[in-house]
């Protein structure tokens, strides 16, 4: 089955991941800009990071036949440093012209501070000005409810089109409001701290598949790109059809990411001969 991994941090992973993902059906990945595990000191470090994910990482993925797309942003954690963030923001528009850059992300809140909010708003404004898609990170664990609520409040007073915004790392206690408001939502399959494959399928069965993206967000921490395949297996074991699986794990990423014409992979439909 053809699969799109819509949130994947390739720079933190080995080539073996790409090889195994290719063998397991992955045809494309999208890599948001994220926190490197430590706070960077210099804007130039971000610029080189954006070069890495927009220029070099596609060549690694291509060796295994995987299309690679990316996003640029100052991540929520480092947005706590506005002077550094504004220096980085000055350079971000240069990357919007790259052939694999899809938008601004992942932005949003980490601890839901004033500084984070200022930079969050500045990046939304930049995305709107340059007609870019928006990918929003919601906070971890005990900070998730407050951060998600504030995210929706910030978005509500800015002129965003909800259909062009993906709010990620949603769980059972944060899913209703973003879906009701017309945003795309993402389930992130982490071994311990986010959503499990079984719980993701429970939510798909409860809420349906419209405007939902499922991803592994595999990075440098405890994470695994193959939680996506685990989720597909769980979905199919519960009796859902191949086409229903394709709608969620291939076609939905095409529908959301395809709003940027650079993402040219089309939804697919299973057709039997005769």
């Amino acid at each position: 089955m053809q699969i799109i991994q819509p949130h994947y941090h390739g720079i933190a992973r080995t080539a073996q991941d790409y090889q195994r993902m290719a063998m397991a059906g992955v045809v494309a990945v999208a890599e948001p800009a994220f926190w490197a595990g430590f706070d960077r000191k210099y804007p130039e470090t971000f610029i080189d990071y954006f070069r890495q994910i927009s220029e070099f990482e596609p060549t690694r993925a291509a060796q295994y036949g995987i299309r690679h797309f990316c996003w640029v942003a100052v991540n929520p954690k480092e947005a706590e440093n506005p002077p550094l963030s504004y220096e980085v923001l000055k350079h971000m528009p240069e990357f919007f012209d790259k052939p694999n850059v899809l938008g601004v992300g992942e932005i949003g809140f980490h601890k839901t501070t004033r500084n984070e909010e200022e930079i969050f708003e500045a990046q939304i404004e930049m995305a709107l000005k340059h007609n870019q898609l928006i990918l929003i990170h919601t906070p971890h664990l005990q900070d998730k409810v407050r951060g998600t609520r504030r995210t929706l409040e910030v978005l509500a007073h800015m002129k965003v089109d909800p259909a062009r915004v993906w709010i990620d790392h949603i769980e059972e206690h944060t899913i209703r409001a973003p879906l009701d408001a017309g945003y795309w939502v993402g389930f992130t399959l982490y071994p311990i701290t986010k959503c499990s494959p079984k719980r993701a399928v429970d939510m798909l069965e409860h809420y349906g598949s419209q405007r939902i993206l499922v991803n592994s967000s595999a990075d440098w921490g405890p994470s695994d790109p193959f939680t996506l395949q685990e989720c597909i297996l769980e979905f199919r074991r519960r009796g859902h059809s191949l086409q229903e699986a394709l709608e969620i794990f291939h076609n939905n990423p095409c529908r959301f990411l395809g709003q940027n014409p650079k993402f040219d992979i089309q939804p697919i439909r299973v057709q039997h001969e005769n």
């Binding site: 664990l141 311990i192 701290t193 499990s196 079984k198 719980r199 429970d202 069965e205």
Partner: protein
């Protein structure tokens, strides 16, 4: 050997995750029963065992042999 706070620091998130999985399984069971318009398997001995196990885990005044007692609970009776 770990101190009590170290046990919590090391195992809290794993335990949180396992509790969420138990909650999700019970929700799944209820949702399936609702879809099929049948009772939620209340008489099924496996569900009764799960409820007994959860009750055992909520005892505050107890001894550090919960695992052994759970395993006996899930064992065939003579």
């Amino acid at each position: 050997m770990l101190k009590p706070t170290e046990v919590l620091e090391k195992d809290f998130l794993d335990t949180r995750c396992m509790l969420l999985e138990i909650a999700a399984m019970l929700d799944r069971l209820d949702a399936a029963a609702q879809r099929e318009q049948t009772p939620a398997a209340a008489e099924d001995p496996r569900l009764q065992q799960i409820h007994q196990a959860l009750q055992l885990l909520t005892e505050r005044e107890t001894t550090a042999d919960r695992v052994e007692r759970l395993l006996h609970l899930f064992s065939e009776k003579d």
